[in-house]
Subunit: 357 residues, 4 copies
């Protein structure tokens, strides 16, 4: 159950403090230009330890391609990527060896597997998302063939919400803020929260430009369902909205319907998806991250033997996971779309004739 996708499919491995993390990407067609530098650039966006707003923990995150690429071009064979773990200070975790950290997966993993891999969350750590970003970069490369462009950024930190979104600005912002007018406020919020030894939630927007019509496979590989799957599966995500999202439940049909004329749809309340299939309009997605559970205040918890303890966290952690989460959300959307581009090919007999003629 460590695979995502049908045809363009990743299978991942690795724990936060194990030897390495990595993945195998299956279904990359031959003839795609792929190299380590390109993937590294994507990875570096997610890399922690780069500024005040993320964890001071440094992860070098050097990606290596092990297979599937020959002379800089994909061969059609499975592509394996590996990132060796460094700078893991397992000693940070000595004091939690037998404790369940509140808000973390420690409790549920222990109950499910009967084993306490206490080293920084083990498999449940968000460290694994580095692999998603690396694989997502290859997916984005694949989407370039069709000029599909996935972009993302942070729209809100706690209750400080942006309004005017600029994805180009977000790319250059240290916190990937979408609204330049409130970026400073959002940064201050993060520093304030850090000072309080607390953490804060945030929300991310992903938008996709140049969408082809027809992506999404009814009825159980619908585009919206698969995006929800992909995004809700990211560590810390608690809500996913598409188009009008939550607001849609408050609207009337006459407000929410997107009417059509010769030039196309007049509005985009749907977020670019109708009946689980892309309409050709831009995709509009919103993802809500909870505050990181790693806070530095005293909390009540129990040990694996059910003894009560006062818990004090050590180590280095992100005050707001939504920031780096925006990079991961972007990657997951790329992975979904790459898969959907391939699945859609066989929708019509006509397409099949094109390929084989």
């Amino acid at each position: 159950m460590n695979s995502f996708g049908n045809h363009f499919r990743i299978t991942t491995f690795g724990e936060s403090h194990g030897v390495a993390i990595g993945c195998i990407i299956d279904g990359v067609p031959s003839g795609l230009g792929v190299n380590e530098e390109y993937i590294q650039t994507a990875l570096d966006k997610r890399k922690p330890g780069q500024n005040l707003y993320a964890t001071a923990r440094r992860e070098d995150d050097k990606v290596q391609i092990l297979s599937g690429v020959f002379n800089g071009v994909s061969t059609g064979a499975s592509i394996a990527l590996i990132i060796y773990n460094k700078n893991q200070e397992s000693s940070d975790y000595e004091n939690i060896k037998e404790l369940f950290r509140p808000g973390h997966a420690d409790f549920t993993y222990f109950k499910k597997y009967g084993i306490r891999d206490y080293r920084g969350g083990g498999r449940s750590s968000a460290r694994e998302t580095a692999v998603r970003v690396a694989a997502g970069a290859i997916a984005q490369k694949f989407l370039n063939i069709l000029d599909i462009k996935v972009q993302s950024g942070v729209c809100s930190i706690g209750d400080i919400e942006g309004e005017n979104f600029d994805f180009d600005f977000a790319r250059t912002s240290e916190i990937f803020a979408l609204d330049r007018d409130i970026e400073e406020l959002q940064k201050e919020k993060i520093l304030e929260i850090k000072k309080e030894h607390d953490s804060i939630g945030g929300a991310v927007i992903v938008e996709v430009l140049n969408m082809p019509v027809g992506l999404g496979e009814p009825l159980y590989e619908k585009l919206d369902a698969k995006l929800a799957d992909a995004l809700m599966g990211i560590n810390g995500v608690k809500a996913v909205e598409i188009g009008e999202g939550v607001n849609a439940s408050k609207l009337k049909g006459s407000q929410n319907n997107d009417q059509i004329d010769k030039r196309g749809f007049l509005t985009n309340h749907s977020g670019g998806i109708l009946g689980g299939i892309s309409s050709g309009q831009n995709l509009k997605l919103k993802v809500h991250f909870k505050p990181t559970p790693s806070i530095f205040k005293e909390q009540k918890t129990v040990t694996i033997n059910d003894e009560e303890r006062a818990f004090f966290l050590k180590g280095r952690h992100d005050p707001c996971i939504a920031v780096r989460g925006s990079v991961v959300a972007n990657a997951m959307v790329c992975l979904v779309l790459a898969d959907m581009v391939i699945l859609n090919i066989s929708s019509k007999v006509e397409n099949i004739k094109k390929v084989y003629s």
Copy 2:
């Protein structure tokens, strides 16, 4: 791509105005008591034409078991269910033969498949959800083995939101309202909207009691991700929230973390899922439905030949799909959980020994 689930798995067929709809359910263990009456009871909850608040269109929806059950007990063979279509007035759809109805999947299906199955939405119609409800009833029967209880109801109609939720009340309410104090207001809202020839959105809550710890398969069959997949895939759903949901992005870690003592978790902000695995607390899910796109006001649209038209809808339609949607959401959660109960079995060597000893 008409299958849902890994091990407890449904594969569905049928269009709203075809011969029949139905499904094959794979992975039902042998020894489960199953009969048509039981499934019919579940189906009847979703059945339209029963009161003023749903479409006047009557669908008889008599379910028949074709296989997999012998003397009232599942045999381990695949279970096929069929519901023959009746009362389809295809003539209702004559005038939309070449039109794309705004807010419907007409446009996207036509672009994807090159074919206009104009009879009431064809495969994209919510009629298919009857099958999900029938299959969901068998899943709930399976969950009964572990006393897992899935319940659902409508929390808001447009901006009329309930606060005090009573799932027992919802079961008896004609609109499955969760809050008895505002049920009357919500009913009035629906009738008012009907009079306006418009429709209205709504939100649904699904809660699960007696959850075992350990359901959910990391990292790509996480319980939350699969629930999001299942729920976002229902016709008209535009947002899915788990636990604090959207609100989580506004909270601090110290507010959102669920601390633990000997008696268990002190709060349930997480909605019963940590790291994609159930914590044993109640599941808390919220699903937002858009207003049904079928409204009786003039709308702009185009034909399949891209000619502009003023569109006037005929036929009979739900003013608020969230109402019947709450039954479908319940069924989808049952299907996810049944699958997860089975997947979880092989988490430990210990479990395997129990079975084979």
Copy 3:
């Protein structure tokens, strides 16, 4: 576990003496001409009760299309087929209610599921293969787009083996015999065996003409592996050979290698597959069926309570399942190839560009 195929995928249901058998076919692209008459023609080839060489049991086997086809053309939606069961004389099976028939799956199904569905084998009955033949007809229709032609016939009955194979002759032979010179001998063999109240094994050859190069997905959806899966899964098959088959293990490399010149391969020892991928040469497959276990001689067996019994079979049964098995083998090969044609499309970036440009 009632599904076969990845993209062109069937999911089947039904027991020999239940209400109906049928399937859902997923992944048929839109735009394929499909109708009941065409499928019926294929089914009629498999139908028993047509001559002296098969069981006298009559199965009417009228197939009906329930979904996925509109105005004679596939719409891209899942296609459901149903065949209602008739002429099931369950009374034939009263005397075996608690017995395990030697050579049948009675014993293993009972031990696995704890339930004895004694009505003619239930789910394990070869009756289900009617559905494969119906689905295979749609697959063959799909393969027609590329002019791929799958043909099959019986090469041996017991030790009476043919040498000169003529697939056109086989189509008209009552026992689908490939060699017209020994057909008469083979028929006599069957009648002789019937008179002995015994049964006899047989072998079938499947050949595929006009194969495209490139079908088969390394490394775990290889064409040869999937054909072996498909063919070994047919009731009664005990061996599958490709190209030189068993004989390959006796040859030298210099004998077995297919050398190449400008005109192509000089020989076809490989059977048209190299490295799990089709070479463009004809596929050559051989399938060995065991004698039907249903014989009319006294046999030792036990009851479900482990009491010893002398067993005497009643009912009507094929003396040689290889005969009708040749129709099923043909269908299974069609299903594999249809799937492989679709999977192969995304092998190259170039193909994807063709479709989306």
Copy 4:
């Protein structure tokens, strides 16, 4: 398409002359003792360069566990294994850069992917089978829980066929010969063939002891079908037989049926599988390998530009791939059975109660 198995599932990567080969194993339950030494022992059986009868090419094949194991015990997380490639003399392949080697997959891979990864077969090389052996060792470890024992050996080299099989002897034989009386003859045969610059086919037998009843999932994950899939997918395999195999097509029902009395089945013609489900008898499988296509005689071939060439092979190659193939066949059977053990758990409601009570 680089994954094998449903629940106990491997996904592999790597080319013969790339950086590394390896796999991710998904679905290993927590609590299984796993370490590198154990896997290495299995790998060393397959390792070439150990005697006169295999290729002189040395592959060090040091396996490393990257994840999923903590303190010597599986954690339930995906297990990644890696084997770095060494001793690849790519220069050996300079002269075939543009040639298709007869009997190899060069031609089909080039036609499918449009790329010539000429370095020793690339992804199509049997080098990948080292990974299968490593993963198979973990599967065997898992099977030990139920005392299931998979054993294999070589029964024939060319036409020199053994009769009295001794799997203990095979384990110690340099050519894994099953019959000690003809081992010497078989060895001479191999040396003779080497001297002729040719190669030779061979056959392998796999037997499984202590099989539980009930493994195999009807109708499309039957045990026999999956074994055929697994075995036919091994490089060079051209035929798979189960139980009586090819011979079954020559027998009468009265000869082939396995009658039953209180002590169990009186014979084992079925090879331990009835209706696709294990009967509890020993599994009996036979696998036929073609002669390795790598021979040192002049052969006709063409270049990627379709120019005719006389081809002379360089390098070091196995004269008989069946020898090392017997180790791979053993591993594949282990992988199938591990998967089936897990799948079977949910066959009965009763089993599920056992786990959750």
